[in-house]
């Protein structure tokens, strides 16, 4: 309920004695969550062991990149894209084909370009005629799968021997390369959102489309840009999947869009747009991954793991928003 009635008095009442400062509440809630998580981690045997940390960091990276991309879409006021998972799969396949033809450089360019273009095309439809983002992305999923079926003739594809892809499978200072990429993607996302004109335009559009338009923001380019970056980040996730597992098919990336939107929400980015950040999403992705790891490590049976994950996501969303709103 924001209308012109919802206004705080002008400059004069600054000296007015304030009620308890509720603005600190979200911070407090977050602190409590972080402390609780840390305690739970410490109390879980094996959590801080190398295998756990490494597998956690590696596998959160694929979905994490998609989630950071999703964040841009959410902030721009377009809720979510259902097509990012399929885009990741397609990028993985394109990457392998292109690497086999022209080497790693070409592969990278081709995969990222295809992912970015596929996504940007949706962004264009959403931005230029303001088509409904959810439907456009559902349509895109169907089109991507259909097209992939025609092109791939239903097969998995693999790297040829001798492409030298192995060098991309290492660690950097003990940290898995995938996680380094996720950190870079998060940094890039954060940079875009906070330090570029484009990023500011995204927030403006997300918080009020009409106001952004009246202020001279080129709205369709901004939306297209958001989808373009989301596609590129997702493409990177696809490339990493292909590299890590030595092959690809369209099943790669299935379901990532749900995981990604869960990470975005748990991070506290608002669904209605205009608010949020890439760092928050990174935090959200980590929280979900950590909780899942903890449940497995503590030997919970599979079905309880599912239930607890659900309840915890629920709880975090509730906590977040009640802190946010008060």
């Amino acid at each position: 309920m924001t209308g012109k009635g919802d206004t705080v008095r002008g400059t004069r009442e600054m000296s007015m004695p304030l009620a308890p400062d509720w603005r600190l509440l979200p911070t407090a809630v977050r602190a409590v969550v972080i402390v609780a998580l840390t305690v739970a981690c410490v109390a879980t045997p094996g959590f801080f062991s190398l295998p756990n940390i490494l597998s956690l960091l590696t596998t959160v990276s694929f979905m994490g990149c998609v989630a950071v991309g999703m964040t841009l879409i959410t902030i721009s006021g377009n809720i979510m894209s259902f097509s990012l998972g399929a885009t990741a799969g397609a990028a993985a396949m394109v990457f392998i084909v292109a690497v086999n033809i022209g080497g790693i450089g070409i592969g990278l360019i081709a995969a990222l370009a295809v992912a970015a273009l596929v996504s940007a095309a949706q962004g264009f439809a959403v931005g230029w005629v303001r088509a409904n983002p959810i439907i456009v992305s559902i349509a895109a999923v169907a089109l991507i799968y259909g097209t992939a079926e025609i092109f791939t003739r239903h097969s998995s594809i693999y790297f040829k021997p001798g492409t030298g892809i192995e060098i991309l499978r290492g660690k950097l200072g003990g940290v898995p390369l995938e996680f380094v990429v996720l950190l870079c993607v998060t940094a890039a996302g954060q940079f875009i959102l906070y330090l570029t004109r484009f990023g500011r335009n995204l927030y403006m559009m997300g918080s009020s489309f009409r106001a952004a338009e009246a202020a001279g923001v080129k709205t369709w380019r901004t939306v297209t840009g958001a989808y373009l970056w989301a596609g590129a980040f997702t493409g990177l996730a696809g490339v990493m999947l292909a590299i890590r597992y030595d092959g690809a098919n369209m099943d790669y990336g299935v379901g990532y869009e749900y995981d990604a939107i869960a990470a975005v929400l748990v991070g506290g980015t608002l669904m209605k747009g205009g608010h949020g950040s890439a760092l928050r999403t990174l935090a959200g992705a980590m929280i979900i991954a950590i909780v899942q790891a903890m449940l497995l490590l503590r030997g919970f049976r599979q079905e309880w793991q599912y239930l607890f994950t659900g309840l915890i996501v629920f709880a975090v969303i509730l906590l977040h928003s009640s802190g946010e709103r008060r």
Partner: protein, 325 residues
Amino acid sequence: MKASIRNDPHFRPLVILAACIVLLSAVDWGQWRFLSAATPFSTLQTFANIGLVALGLGLTMMIREFDLSVVGMFGLAGCVAVMTGAAHPWFGIACAIAIGLAAGIIQGLIMVRFALGSVGVTLGGLLTFVGLAHVLTENRSVPYDNFRVALLVNEPFAGLLSVRSGVSLAIFAVVALTFGFTRLGRDIIAIGSDRRAAMIAGVNVDAFIVGIFAFSGVCAAATGALLSYSLASASPAGLSDVLVPAAAAAILGGVSLGGGSGRPLGIATGALVLAVLRSGLNAVEAPPFVNDIAMGAILLTVAIGDGPYLMRRLRQLAARERTDR
């Protein structure tokens, strides 16, 4: 006159439906695969899988919310029905519906009490319901041993209907009548069109939110339970992909995510479009990618045709062309 037909919320879905039928008939001409006596029954069976879920989801979309949890409820209700309804099928259905109702009410109350958006809450609901289904079934598929019921719910009667599709159509009819002839329909449109306004005007918005999410839960639960009966099994992972077709059906049927538009009969037509496409493409033996691409193309066309800026952009292009010359 012409304009009034075009403004009719059922106009577009009907046109799309007609177009699909004409196209499929043309493809099939002379081979009597699509144009066969079996197609209507088959179409209505598919309709029974998604129709009600689309209705529940569509109503939440009409009030500018989105119920992601239908997927979870669909699977959970199937498991509950199969596990409790072996001896007394009605009891199983009742249990499933009770769970759907309770889950919908709880989610609705959470949204209302804490002023939360529905995407977040129902995402939590979705994951929780899936988890619950896994716990209840101990991560196994459960067979439904009452084979007689399984065959009965799909038994054709009147050549066209089965119990499942009959139930769906009946519920659609009731909802459409309620929507059209009582205050409720207009109140729902008002809430979707401007929630604050509706509240100030005296509509009990909170009750509607809770009620509609409860209805959506019940729809998903009933569909899930009946489907599980008809397949004589339930799986915590779900037996059918339902969210995307349901959302697509609602949208094809004229519901917009912006709220305030759409009618139950429109949603029914939208679901029918999808069902005709599925059954029809199956019948004409189209390769699977044709199904995907046709569906994608239709949705994309609808989305772009619905785009509020479409006319403006076309005029801009026309103007630019004029000045360029």
